[in-house]
Symmetry: C2
Subunit: 181 residues, 2 copies
């Protein structure tokens, strides 16, 4: 078993100029009041990996250009369509007008496991919030549904960028491998 060389890996890369025309996944994401620049960069990187349609950065979530974001995003800030809205409800309104379901990643009385989303739930916007306080009550009130990542250990949450990655990649399974449930 041999590691691929940098050249072999680079051959598989899409060219930047192809990005405006490629078909993106019907997945949107909204990062509301995220504190950590490191998390924002990681979220951009995962959003590029899953080829989502658009990333909304809202509230006090830091947004490009910030060198700390670019350092962890490794260029993904150029390949992921994104918008910043100070007011998260402005993003929610735009999403609702476009018939995109709002799905909060939060522990609520109605949350379902993330893997129980169905292809019919898309286009979908995954909304996740502050590292300590989660998604704001205002956004929860406007959400169409909520999902949670089951925790089997002692703690009750994952790092927000990790939780986003888990849910995001399972959305790709649900959209592209529906026969696998």
């Amino acid at each position: 078993m041999q590691k691929l060389t940098h050249d072999e890996i680079s051959k598989n890369r899409r060219k930047l100029e192809d990005f405006p025309v490629i078909q993106r996944n019907p997945i949107y994401a909204m990062a509301d009041n995220i504190r950590s620049l490191y998390n924002v960069g990681s979220i951009f990187r995962s959003s590029d990996g899953a080829l989502i349609s658009k990333l909304f950065l809202t509230g006090f979530t830091p947004h490009p250009p910030r060198k700390e974001i670019d350092k962890t995003a490794l260029g993904a800030t150029l390949t992921v369509p994104w918008e910043y809205h100070k007011d998260p409800m402005a993003a929610v309104e735009q999403l609702k007008q476009n018939k995109i379901k709002i799905c909060a990643l939060e522990l609520t009385d109605k949350s379902i496991p993330y893997y129980d989303l169905t292809p019919e739930d898309f286009p979908l916007c995954l909304v996740f919030g502050n590292e300590l306080t989660g998604v704001s009550k205002e956004v929860i009130a406007a959400a169409d549904m909520a999902i949670e990542v089951p925790m089997y250990g002692n703690k009750q949450s994952l790092n927000v960028a990790v939780a986003y990655g888990i849910v995001l990649y399972d959305c790709l399974r649900i959209l592209h491998r529906p026969t696998q449930g």
Copy 2:
């Protein structure tokens, strides 16, 4: 839809004293030459969430006690069994003696998509490496198999803690929801 209160969330927590006796998942992890304390803390947190059997920290991967790890692990360093070995091959040897398959998370000429693992591949140790250089050739040479996380965008990798979380939680799907493929 109402957010759960801290008390409601806490009620679901396992007590620390239960941990020595609970049945853990047949998943092991090995973090070799990870540079970032932030990533190590996040990896502990995900490892707790998935209730893995043991986390091996090897090479120059920082290990507890380190306040920066505890800050991001949020207590998971107390609930996840872990060992530190300066020499990664010492951990590999221990795993092989215990008939645990070594699975590198790396782009190789034989890597399969992470979601194609099967219940028969477990007990399994997910091995992931340095943020820049990946899993070392020495460990790759000793690995039984390799998996990769398909990238659909322009970049060719995810943050290592995010990639670990994606693969780890899909292992739970494979182990506990095999009829869903």
